[in-house]
Symmetry: C2
Amino acid sequence: MPKDSDNSDDRIPPRTLKGFRDYLPQAMLAREGLVETAKEVYRSYGFAPIDTPALEYLEILAGKGSDETDKQLYKFTDAGGRDVGMRFDLTVPLARFAAQYAQQLGLPFKRYHVATVWRGENTQRGRYREFMQCDFDTIGTESATSDIETALVIHDLLAKIGFVGAFTISVNHRGVLNGLLESLGLAAQATQVLRAIDKLTKTGPEKVAAEMQATAGATPAQAEQVLAFAALDGTNNAVLEQLRPMVDGSEVGEAGLARLTEVLAGIAAAGVDPARIKLDVSIARGLDYYTGMIYETTLDADPDLGSVASGGRYDNLAQMFTKQRLPGIGASLGLDRLLDGMEKLGMLPNVRTPAEVFVPLFSEELLGPLLKLAADLRSAGLRVELYGEAKKLGKQLQYADKRGHRVAVIAGPDEIEAGECQIKNLADGSSTAVPMASAADEISKLLRGN
Amino acid sequence: MPKDSDNSDDRIPPRTLKGFRDYLPQAMLAREGLVETAKEVYRSYGFAPIDTPALEYLEILAGKGSDETDKQLYKFTDAGGRDVGMRFDLTVPLARFAAQYAQQLGLPFKRYHVATVWRGENTQRGRYREFMQCDFDTIGTESATSDIETALVIHDLLAKIGFVGAFTISVNHRGVLNGLLESLGLAAQATQVLRAIDKLTKTGPEKVAAEMQATAGATPAQAEQVLAFAALDGTNNAVLEQLRPMVDGSEVGEAGLARLTEVLAGIAAAGVDPARIKLDVSIARGLDYYTGMIYETTLDADPDLGSVASGGRYDNLAQMFTKQRLPGIGASLGLDRLLDGMEKLGMLPNVRTPAEVFVPLFSEELLGPLLKLAADLRSAGLRVELYGEAKKLGKQLQYADKRGHRVAVIAGPDEIEAGECQIKNLADGSSTAVPMASAADEISKLLRGN
């Protein structure tokens, strides 16, 4: 609540913390639109929403976390003397949640969670210390169906956002790579090899080969075979064919290849355009975490943006909290990155209002009839801002112009007397007089036509 | 990310902090539904979304806050040595935001903000330490239009949520009460009088009269006149008439009464049923904060629940941060209280899934066609959960029963061969065979009929 202060010396400069952001209407309208689309797609597959506290016991969040995680955690001692922290992702809270309620929820359990997380990142790297995550996961099943659905959800999401036919979901299976390494006798050095391969697009094959020899003790021949594997290209079916001999004899490799084949077939059976799905054996995200299928998604118009929706399958979500084994699969939408991409591609409308329709207040005397007009337009499903003060019409229309309303409905005393109004298209300035009773229809027609 | 731990001795007990809540799907579906309805109504009046950080500089939040606020603040020193706090309401962030961007945004500025806030409340009083606020405000105007709209937004909100014709918005104007006190010579003791009157419904007129005499130094005759004022009842117009002589000669009282009259007329002009709006001169919320119109909303079926949507007009939002005077008006929806009320009144469906439709996986061989069936139903706008594993049909239907899906679409090999499926109404167990191509229409019909 505002405090008594008329002494300017006492004023506090309004500012935000480094790495934290205010969302003004234009940015927030875009973010809300994206989040709502994501939720709608998640729900359309039966994923249910959950939420967890922003603050958790520090031991829950820190667990046996890495030094990196620990350094980034916002943590403090609360007034009751408890060591607490602010969540830094939605995965640890999901693990705690699943351990606590698995019995009550029943398995499999499909949930989505859209929430803010905090990390004390180095802001010099352009990172934010507060951002929103947008995750969906299926827990308690190893079914191919949930692997397939993960790709379908990402597909529907990108299509609904507006990228129809203009994105690529790259898929891979960690078992295929592990199988190759097993065949090559490099299974024990998998982490080092994966870490090297992960840099393939960034640093090129020579440096990756050198790193594999340095860190994984690979021979030049082994490094070459790994690179040949990572360079596999062609149609998904052609790549599957080439992989078969490479993993031959490795149980984990053959199982991975079988699952990958089944998942690709399932995605196609659901009706997804094959051009949207690329089997890419070089992707190996989440080095210590993912164990089965993995997914990355790039925008065809801006692949350098990086993955805008990623995830994969994991063996056991919540072993830190329960002895119950909880395998699962999940992915998340990269909201900030996607919004960056949409902005660059001109996909975000230049508006600062959710209301398409603007009604100027012609004069104080007309407030009653104009309140009624606005109410009627809202009943017809339109979003309508009625200006509050009877300023000059030009001033009011300037306000509408700044906000980005698309249509103004103008009614002075003569129009109201005659049961009419002017519908003004704010994009081109054209105007039509229509009976008040058909105003909603006319506006809807105009908005559809725009 | 899950950490390596197979040693049960290392396990961390999954639990949440006192005063913090997990939202399981059933509760979260209800909360999300409510928040989305609120946002949709806010948008329909041209209120635009904003967001601000959860963490702010402590000086911004603490300002010249009361000891009470200060005690409840979650505050700490961050890794960069800054004193920071977690926001405890959305009003201080709005004040900081408005001071920072007023120039850029232009006035009037209409915003909504739905976000989590934290207060180290005494949980013994049944309070939560983390909860969501759902505010809308119009800043930078003193127009009657924005006063009227505040009531209209609350009205549309309650109606859209499902309380059509079953709620009461109580309105008052602080100037009317202040005018009376001025006429009585009690203007300087307004706070004490208001504090006493605020307890009228709880403690009754005698105790309130005694308190006014004790704390405000009112004479018994003055106390009686204040109580007569607070007891005014009848139609809104009748009360307005009775108020006229009571504030006669007081500038602030006459202005307040004029505004109150104008606001009631505007609300009626917009088409609101007069039975929904009650002029109640005894409400006096926000003792040190509100200066003009005030609003409270009760559910007719459960008035003891207290106000589920409240707010009012304030003189100057952001004087702590800027010399620019920013008058405004706003209100907020009490999400927790409203959800409590809806639960008590049986208005929350007993479901744990957003998907109406359940498709069992009859056999692994049918995964392809059933993925296609589910995709087709989704394209028709339905929300569809396909079960992932080909367990016994009974087991799968048990799962659907536990979740609360409303319709199952069952297709075995014979049905798929024949291009048909069974549509099973899970409420009554009845089943109909329909051609696959008309499944979506049949399900939609059934869902509408339920």
